[in-house]
């Protein structure tokens, strides 16, 4: 069929004999054709689509929604697991039901059985505690600003746990015959919440014992500076718990060791930084573990240069109330040992994050 024939209904155009001649000339002149490669491409496209008129849906299309839901579930579970691993106390505090008044220890069978082990059991060695708390310590090591690198599971500074962690000095002193050698945090986990006000009162010390308030309120209140403990405090059922929360005799040792490791690492890092900076003071900075001169130690900030001194202070004040720590910090500052004072203050803040410091230390 010739497509370039004259239209049928062009009769209203004026008939001109020259028009036919022009049309014939144009047909002779216009002979361009598309290239063969385009013919092939178009034919392929037409046949490819003509062979399969309806495109089938890919196999995975019906599985989109189940896959999406499964992926969401996996991510959610992973996140929750990660959160629980990092902050177990928060998760436990969220999940903890209203505790029974008595017999809470009996209710939790395995951990309670472990805790109720005889008191004359040998204290946990370093390797034991390290094995038991390995994942925990790894997490703590990752968080450089973690509250305290203690071997026992260090709870985050939630108000409740910090209130529990406030030391009750007379109960915290290790008395091998009476004090149970148990970790503070498991005990605190198992402890019913009704004990919390009592603990808070004890943490502040008997001198500043306010009337009992509900546990969350008491825990949320900023802890004022506790008074110095009396020489002898009356024994009470809750004192055992307080001594538990203060930690057993093995806990300070392990905490000190992990703290020493942390300080050593920090010292290495700071020494390396100083060395890279090329400062002459860095040359004078001794490696951790080696005695250094006092001026050089003062130039190096942080724990590294004064590790031994700080360890000595911490060991001295391990079972002292925060007031004693603050007195020591102030004394060190008066002596001009500002570095040690700052390090000690940092350690105090790690242990008592909710402690209200006196104005001169803020």
């Amino acid at each position: 069929m010739a497509v370039n024939e004259r239209g049928r209904d062009d009769s209203d155009l004026p008939a001109d004999p020259g028009d036919e001649r022009i049309a014939a000339l144009y047909r002779e002149a216009a002979r361009e054709e598309p290239p063969a490669r385009i013919d092939r491409a178009i034919a392929d496209a037409a046949r490819g689509r003509g062979a399969a008129p309806a495109r089938e849906a890919p196999w995975w299309l019906p599985w989109r929604m189940p896959f999406a839901v499964a992926a969401l579930a996996v991510v959610s579970v992973s996140l929750v697991t990660l959160m629980v691993e990092e902050d177990p106390d928060r998760a436990i505090a969220l999940q903890e039901p209203s505790p029974p008044a008595a017999g809470a220890r009996d209710a939790s069978a395995p951990t309670a059985a472990l805790r109720d082990a005889p008191a004359d059991m040998t204290p946990p060695t370093k390797t034991e505690s390290a094995d038991a708390e390995k994942p925990r310590r790894n997490l703590d090591a990752r968080r450089s600003d973690a509250p305290s690198p203690s071997p026992s599971p260090a709870p985050p500074p939630t108000p409740e746990t910090s209130a529990r962690r406030a030391p009750a000095p007379e109960a915290a002193r290790p008395t091998p015959a009476t004090a149970p050698r148990q970790s503070a945090v498991p005990e605190a986990r198992e402890r019913p919440q009704s004990v919390a006000p009592e603990l808070a009162v004890q943490a502040r010390g008997p001198a500043a014992a306010p009337p009992p308030v509900p546990a969350p309120q008491a825990a949320r209140e900023p802890q004022p500076f506790p008074a110095a403990p009396p020489a002898a405090a009356p024994t009470s059922p809750s004192r055992g718990l307080a001594s538990d929360s203060a930690s057993g005799p093995g806990a300070p040792l392990a905490r000190l060791e992990s703290q020493a490791a942390l300080e050593e690492r920090k010292a290495r890092q700071s020494a390396e930084m100083q060395r890279k900076a090329g400062e002459p003071a860095a040359k004078a900075a001794p490696p951790p573990g080696r005695a250094a001169s006092a001026p050089a130690r003062d130039q190096v900030s942080g724990f590294g240069a004064r590790r031994a001194d700080i360890q000595r202070h911490v060991a001295d004040l391990e079972h002292e109330p925060p007031a004693a720590w603050i007195e020591r910090v102030l004394a060190l500052r008066k002596q001009g040992r500002a570095g040690e004072a700052d390090a000690l203050l940092a350690e105090l803040r790690k242990r008592h994050p909710d402690l209200v410091l006196p104005p001169e230390l803020r």
């Binding site: 239209g7 209904d9 022009i22 178009i42 037409a46 003509g50």
Partner: protein, 214 residues
Amino acid sequence: MVDAGVLTLERRLPRFAPRAYWVPVMPRDDAQARDEDLMLAYRDGSAGAFDELYRRHKGALFRYLLRQCRDAGAAEELFQDVWLNLVRARASYTVTAKFTTYLYRLAHNRLIDHYRRRAPTALVSFVDDEEAPQVAAGRDIEPDVAYEARAQAKRLLALVEALPAAQREAFVLQQEAGMSIEEIAEATGVARETAKSRLRYAMAKLREGMSEWL
């Protein structure tokens, strides 16, 4: 526009009929089938129908695009695009007009897109322009051409290229696609009188330019 034959064909091939139980009704001789029937057959899966359609219209469509964009490379690209658009749109094809009108409407729209993408300096006006540059009459365009017929053809093509775009389009659609004035108007989206006027002006200019040979 749709004649009884197409309607009969559509009635014979209900769209809801399961494909497994019928074979697309193909004309016995593709060469004698109407364009619309071929397109319907292609819509229903006949690749041979498309081949026949393509054979019929490929040259005219290519020349139409070549005259309009005046660039062989661009014309090839547009040509391919138009046919691929046809292939893609085949599932929704229904006979509402002559197939040629449908095909050249696709080409016209594609040309408009092409013009829009070009540089502003190269814009082509589809408005009737009576002040468009005229090709000088005479034989001075190709003085060295040996054969007169070839000279006449070249002269005519030069005159066609010199036409305003709208007039050129009307002329090429009439000559290449064999369209009537109504079909030109429908394919280019203008009124019938506008198409008629464009065609008349175009022919007048070409007659004037070719007056020495007519």
